[in-house]
Amino acid sequence: MIEFEHVSFAYEKDKYVLEDMSFRIGTGESVGLIGANGAGKSTIMKLLLGLLQGEGRILIDGVEVKRETLHEIRRKLGFVLQNSDNQMFMPTVYEDMIFAPLNYMMSREEADKRVDEVLARLHLEDLKHRYNHKISGGEKRMAAIATILAMDPEVILMDEPTSALDPYNRRIVINTIRELGQTKLITSHDLDMILETCDRVILISNGKIVADGPAEEILSDRELLEANRMELPLSKNCK
């Protein structure tokens, strides 16, 4: 589904943020991408989305990410931004949700139906006509996820989906993520959330993959995590 083949990227000449990175993510997999601040997590996301162009090849469903294929690629990808305010740029939740379907040439009736389905699935019906600037942080995050689901993407990318949420809203978001059947790539420092939502974890440091394996295994390895400026998830620590 997602393939990185020897991908390197530098913002400034010869200062590589990513170096010769290769990995594969299969259809339906849930992968947590973890690493310290500045490790290169968001660069990976941006390369995948075609917002940045690097060296090497990135394939999505066998199609290479490049200028000519961007439209096709982006249709398959749904990216949930960390800051929902930047994601939700229309005045109301409904208008934000309908934005992508209409851009992808869906008729208004179909798009309306899609919006209602997604809202019903996430139990957010009462948010539909609310103003984006008047809903709470938790509601906003859920609405942002709904906007992306309305696109019906094949892959969902999430950047810190649980940041700045209270435990209640965090739980709602985690449960929602767990129910999504799509291929998922999630970056976060909330390792407990990663443990609950992902089966596989890729740990990166200084632009290189340090570890790649089952979430259970990597997130139980205290030495590995601490060497990479992280801690054991709380749930592992208690045992």
Partner: protein
Amino acid sequence: MNKMQKALAELSEMDELAARQSPIHALHPAAKLIATIAYILVTLSFDKYDLNGIVPMVLWPILLFQISGVEVRTCFYKLRIVLPLVMAVGLFNPFFDKEIMLRVGGLAISGGVISMITLMLKGVFCLMASFLLMATTRIDNLCAALRKMRVPSMLVTLLLLTYRYVGVMTEELAIMTDAYHLRAPGQKGIQISAWGSFLGQLLLRSMDRAQELYSSMMLRGYHQHFHYADIKPFKARDGLYVAVCIIVFLLLRYVDVAQLLGGLFVR
């Protein structure tokens, strides 16, 4: 609360008013917009001494306030901005125009006083009219109506996006202002050493935000075209409302209602 928080509260109050339900809220935004513009134009067209003529114009906004259930109080709060300005201009009239136009008992009232009062009424009436428009119409519906009325999409989209981010930016500045004053007790405003950096810092961050916003638009298939929420079609009822409004305004304009009513009792 600092100024920005007050502005946010005011904005949110308007949103809440507009989200209510009433026969006026249910009208097509374009119908309300046209009626409001007609009302303001008719009000402004009264002669500066035509105090009698302008007074009956109050009936339309009052009727609207009653039908829509919007409190007049919220509107009068907004008068604090318009009135001082109108008064500053109008207050000169009694000084310069001292010719007596009217005697009530032993009192002689000069033309300047009449024109000053007429001017203030104009100010209050126009404010009530545009306030009622916004208190009964959601901004997204108004924008959709503007699009239908052939206002260029670039302008309408910009209005929508800006409206969305006015809240976000005002809140950030409110927090920054609080943070500034917590570390600078006793200062009334931003000191000269921070004049540039205070807004400048936020401006730089905003540019990154705009970039991210643009990515978010691109990633959801944006290319040159903005789609708007559909609004209900313009029905016969809406047309009727506009027609009735315009006829009534013209009647009020050309028939001296106050004189007529008064004439029934005073000979």
